[in-house]
Symmetry: C2
Subunit: 352 residues, 2 copies
């Protein structure tokens, strides 16, 4: 039966309408008898379920019958991403803990394929889904998704109909700006990386950075527009430095951009962090591999995957957003601002 | 029924004993009637199957009944590896092509968990397995594995009982050495990276490199012992260069080691490829991100995953080794040998 309603009716909706606890509603709808429930409450729950057209979760049923303890991980391309193995591992860990197995499949963003994959998984007893996006963004809900118990990870939807697990990018932006202020940086902080409005990570990181600077009466001294990859970042930062700009610090919007910035600094004869500090986001393997090692705010991929599967398996399918903290990992790429600019002030244009 | 025999009886064994083609044996054992088979041949096949205790493959049965078109990808930790998402994607692509879904689970090298995962997957209709190792090596076959249709990827077993898909590391070693000889390098080529005997990739790459050098009457001028990670490689290559060694080229045993070598060359004031050429293995993302971009021999992860799933789904379960070619990706890190050493000859100890 296709579900055309914008929001899946949850057991909690039934419980509220019946004026009972979620636990009571659960016992009634699953037919359990190991709790004394008044005939009146039972009747109210069943009536509410009927009126709301409540369909007991497939997952609950499979848990009860112990027939197919299986969840599916659907993604638009998550296995393609070098980092996101950790997200899969997190979901696997939670699934294993609950004696569940995990199907994994990729949609490649193809809605017809997505529908088919969901149907195929349901046919094989999959009782619920984790839907993972390769990068943090807002997705469209397909008809295939709408009818299933589902937890989103690294994405949200305009109409909030599923729980969603996303990294706290705003706080991450604040952390990146804060560590620079703590080291004495102020009016010469420059952002590196484009911030298209549809990339939530970009928008939220920028908002967090700007908020912290604003609280100190500051603003970014400029920005270098580049895609989030090493080679374009190398070119763009190289061109920026060649114009004579000498920021005290770069905030790079991911570690790959930071790699390009390191390379451009090297060509320009600037040492990190003596001449310029660099802070970044992702805390990928790369951050620990650079010389000097890169200070970066971690995307908690494992925790996001684990958390999403946990929410699905605990059936806490209230459509709310679960923010996972992003932690600053301090290494060696941030130091006090250099005084170089003052010595050279005459030959350098103002930053920004 | 546990299978204690060292080698799974295949349909081919039955066909050979019965003196018929594999196709004929397949038609008889699966009860298909759309091919005319003599009563005598039918009888021979069934007798051979009985005598050999042949159990028709679960996979064949599930294909025939169309009940559960599902395969499992088991690994000792493949999702943890940044590269290996491509291997999963390859297996997914083949599965999808054959209208199959893919279970994925990690054993973490735990044999008890492996057994449980296999059993759980079989209970859910999984008809065959791809078993992937994180790095190329020889694995032990557990009892849980032995009883299932299985294709190994990136690993082999001492007793050859499964088909195995592995990268052609020996030829990869030859390619790496060859590209250096083609650019004029000869007696000043140094290897970077440890070569423990249990790491097949190390042993085979080294054998291929040595073979090509030997064919030109050469041998490696020395080696730098280091784990296959950037930071230890940075330290080890740095120490080697600080001793005054000036090889004309480094062959790094993977791209991470090459990153460490780049960083050490930078500290020593050596330019790549003007002062020193560097060639590597993996052709990971990193290879294209370095400045200059790194010449590297690719591990064909996608193709390995695809090939393994294809072999499983085509039921070509003859226990042989399928070598997947590794392709040299030439970029900018290899050039002609510098003449620097001759100019400085007096102050430099012999390499090796």
């Amino acid at each position: 039966m296709p579900d055309a309603s914008p929001q899946r009716v949850t057991l909690m909706d039934v419980a509220k309408r019946a004026g009972v606890s979620r636990t009571t509603a659960s016992f009634v709808t699953t037919g359990r008898t190991d709790m004394r429930i008044s005939a009146d409450a039972q009747e109210r729950v069943l009536r509410a379920a009927r009126e709301l057209d409540y369909r007991p979760s497939l997952l609950a049923r499979s848990l009860r019958t112990n027939r197919s303890q299986t969840i599916g991980l659907l993604s638009d391309g998550v296995a393609a991403d070098a980092f996101a193995g950790d997200m899969i591992r997190g979901a696997l860990a939670a699934a294993l803990l609950h004696e569940h197995l995990l199907f994994i499949a990729e949609t490649g963003g193809d809605v017809a394929l997505e529908k088919r994959l969901i149907q195929n998984m349901v046919d094989r007893g999959v009782g619920g889904f984790v839907y993972a996006s390769m990068y943090t963004r807002r997705i469209r809900v397909s008809a295939g998704m709408r009818s299933q118990p589902m937890v989103l990870v690294n994405c949200t939807t305009r109409s909030k109909i599923f729980p969603s697990v996303i990294p706290d990018e705003h706080e991450a932006g604040r952390s990146a700006a804060r560590v620079l202020l703590q080291h004495g940086h102020g009016d010469r902080i420059v952002l590196v990386g484009e911030t298209p409005p549809y990339v939530m990570a970009a928008v939220e990181r920028l908002a967090g950075i700007s908020a912290v600077l604003r609280e100190s009466g500051l603003e970014p001294a400029g920005s270098v527009d580049t895609r989030w990859w090493p080679n374009p970042a190398f070119e763009a930062v190289g061109a920026y430095l060649a114009q004579g700009h000498r920021p005290s610090a770069f905030i790079c919007l991911n570690d790959r951009v930071a790699l390009g910035a390191y390379q451009a600094c090297q060509v320009a004869g600037l040492s990190v962090p003596q001449d310029i500090s660099i802070v970044s986001f992702d805390d990928s393997d790369l951050a620990g591999w650079l010389q000097p090692q890169l200070t970066s705010v971690a995307i908690p991929h494992f925790e996001m995957g684990r958390r999403a599967a946990e929410i699905l398996l605990s059936e806490d399918l209230v459509p709310k957003t679960h923010l996972v903290p992003m932690t600053l990992h301090e290494r060696e790429s941030v130091g006090p601002p250099s005084v170089r600019r003052r010595r050279r002030a005459g030959s350098v244009p103002p930053d920004g």
